[in-house]
Symmetry: C3
Subunit: 373 residues, 3 copies
């Protein structure tokens, strides 16, 4: 059902402090905490003795004591203290230990075999920490399957209808969707030169770039998908023919962590190269994204899930349109990866290596500046 | 599970205005709206593209646009506009279209094969619009199977216990239940001459007819059932031997629309020939019926459903009493109709044609005035 | 799933007054009421006619009338009046009648074959009514399987962790768990001589016994378990070597009545031999027990159940520790009794007869006073 040999976002860095925290990921209850040196630890949350949740326990140094019968577990998942008479520790008294990485403000957890954990499978989100950019982060609890959310992100034509035009323009509507695949990475790119900006971007055009919003601009939307559900939209506007870095440039990150087949924790970012110290610009992007995600996308995707119910969307014979192309590719890729995992086969590499070459073919601006990702 | 080739009440006429409306009927989500000319339309509510609910969309003339990706559907259920690049419309891009009738203040929907829709299968509720009568309408959302509600209505002896005597009398208790069948229609009739009126009717006897409530009256209760769950109680009091139209005459209509096996939208009416312009009489009937339905019947039927749970009442070996006769006949008829439908066989006609002859045999008043139905 | 030929607590004596009451026990809805002479009656709550719940009905003398169609049932469960025309009563028109005993302030119900009901299977809780003792009673509705609660009670080492030390001491921690079995009864006993009292008991040591809490005391905790879920903790402190009745002596009773596999009504008592007329001591024990049960045990056991979900704890391969010994014995005994019941075999006697001999072997105080139980 889920791809297990993969990195998921378990939490934002700032969400995990000194307290014990619990997250249910892929239906499994996970205990998260930080050691004294600040390193994040993720282990199974169910005490193997009688299945009391460890997150109701207490920290003892870098270990955690179950608050029911006092078993103490360390970051390896092994019981390190049995406080009961005798104190013998069965080798079976252990919980799973999950490899964890902390990178670019997120705590990433590997949900499969620990010895298969592979940093090379972590998609590149270095733009979250790129100099000259400022990152806003949020999280939404969505009552829907994570693939329905990926569908939404991989077809931005929905903006014209669901986002009431705020994020759409005629230039986007008439643009051609170009999809690319490299390794297990998929891009869904739209290049919209010399047209009107979408209304949200018109405000940026005027307020940030100081350009009359009636004037045409070059607009680009490049969406990158990596399994199991990590998306990065490279989006911005620049004056026609100008290099992109002279324009207003934004990345939005989307990390979909399944709680269950019908519930997803959706971690998102907005990363901008403009007004990085300007609280009004900060509030503008925070408000625009909150509204688009929480007020427009979330209710629709949750309604879609409610209509689909316990069924699989593919089993309902959906009628495809061309705009579904990238979403369909991502679903097929994920399905292939799950099948390969079930057969014990390896996973193709991420498409990072081939990125620049591939993007160069589609980056049609007169002076293309390739994204930093 | 459900009879599909049948008319159900989808809404009262006054419930459907300019807004898009959703009703779940027989487990299927239905979109209801009115065209510019006022005609009601019912089509499937799930966009065939990705199953977003159309009722979250918007009206465009007499069509409806999905608010997720912009597909537009007309009253035939076919997609009439694909706003995406290319604009090709797959023949599969369509939703079901349900035949609809608007009659006597109700919007009736045919849930089966559209080409099998047959107005002759619509039971006669013309009394809702009869001259000299005034109709009150309401709706209750009941957490119970619709057949449990029909059971309730087809055995009015429950009034003695559940309605605390307000709607019962010794004359009703000792009356003989006469059941009649004609086509697929069933009657459960009680003729109670020259006895005390039930307490609610005693008030009408005094306030409307101006007759000392200590005096005996003729009382009749004729309940008609039609599949799948349309009932009409023809009930009233008149001075002994007098024609019925000289007395206080009421019809109560009951339309049971299954949402799921354990939830029903119960549309009801009270139609009276007296005090049609008198707000006190209006309030009297509104209050009496609200109390009887919402405070007395609903909690009992919902408790019954809670005790039965997911099981079928027949599988629990209920112990029958003679008063169950009409309810049992209705359950058997509905079961026969469902079996016939599953086999592709036709449905027997409604019993309207044979009504007057049959009723004449049981209408025992000295001067029987046959009901208008 | 449940042991049926056994006594369960249906209610405390004071909970059942003149009103009809409903309790769901082992998944079965039961009607409880008192006859005019005060005797408690327990019969099936579902009217066999159409499964309306009888507890929504009304008392008529020592019988109960269903409020839907008026069937009247007596304490034997048979219908004694059919108020409908004809009045014939089918022999099938009856509900189950459950043997009931009222003893020591509790109403006990036998959920199995009525003719197998055996008072000898009722564990001895005469201490609730013992002279010189005062009993406090309560009830908690716990969202967990009853065997998880028995596990909790049969391993008091959890006090050190879950009860934050209030109910634990080093003397208890280092004491040896002695388990005894006689018939189907199991004891889990700890004898902790000449040590510190647990903090809650230290307060009793000072306030009730007038002894400096820094001085050592003899402390005993003897837990008795009887199927299906009746536990009695005989616990107290006395000055070293002194007879127990000269100390502060408490019994806590625990009666676990399954509502469903994941919900239990937990009836509890605290019975003390000290400060029986002192409202401060009463409040002290009431508060200590409320806090320990409702604030500490209940959330942990419910969290444990939530983690286990619909699964059986045994199927999850729990890793045992020595402190589980008594709980494991109780689970095995209950499993044996269920298997024997399913095969139609008899049940071993309660261990009451062998109690004094067995306890004498483990009662290590210089002057053992055997519990009154």
């Amino acid at each position: 059902m889920y791809l297990k040999n993969a990195w998921y976002v378990a939490a934002w860095t700032h969400e995990l402090g000194e307290e014990l925290a619990e997250r249910t990921i892929l239906g499994t209850s996970i205990l998260l905490y930080r050691k004294g040196n600040g390193e994040a630890v993720a282990i199974g949350n169910l005490c193997p003795h009688r299945f009391a949740p460890l997150h109701m326990g207490r920290r003892i140094g870098d270990t955690v004591q179950c608050n029911y019968h006092g078993m103490v577990f360390g970051e390896s998942g092994h019981c390190v203290l049995n406080p009961h008479r005798g104190g013998v520790i069965s080798p079976a008294m252990k919980v799973a230990a999950y490899p964890v990485l902390e990178r670019n403000g997120a705590i990433w957890i590997w949900m499969g075999e620990a010895n298969a954990a592979d940093e090379a499978m972590l998609p590149d989100f270095d733009c979250y920490s790129a100099p000259g950019f400022k990152t806003i982060r949020g999280m939404m609890d969505v009552a829907a399957n994570y693939e329905l959310i990926a569908d939404n992100l991989l077809d931005l034509t929905h903006a014209e209808f669901l986002h009431d035009g705020a994020l759409s323009s005629e230039a986007i509507t008439i643009s051609k969707l170009e999809t690319l695949e490299a390794g297990s990475t998929i891009w869904a790119n739209r290049w919209c030169p010399n047209g009107d900006a979408a209304p949200v971007w018109s405000q940026i055009q005027e307020r940030v770039m100081g350009v009359d919003p009636a004037k045409p601009i070059d607009h680009w939307l490049y969406m990158r998908w990596d399994a199991p559900g990590h998306l990065l939209l490279d989006v911005g506007i620049t004056e026609p023919g100008n290099p992109r870095e002279e324009g207003a440039w934004v990345f939005t990150g989307h990390h979909l962590t399944p709680v269950s087949p019908t519930r997803t924790l959706y971690y998102w970012t907005v990363v901008r190269n403009h007004g990085v110290d300007d609280p009004e610009i900060e509030a503008f992007w925070q408000g625009s994204i909150d509204y688009a995600f929480a007020v427009q996308d979330k209710p629709m995707i949750e309604a879609q899930q409610a209509m689909i119910g316990d069924r699989q969307v593919e089993d309902l014979n959906p009628v495809a349109i061309p705009a579904d192309l990238a979403g369909a590719k991502a679903r097929r890729m994920l399905s292939r990866l799950r099948t390969a995992e079930a057969k014990g086969e390896g996973r193709p590499p991420l498409g990072g290596a081939a990125l620049h070459d591939l993007l160069a073919k589609t980056a049609k601006s007169a002076n293309p500046v390739l994204p930093v990702v």
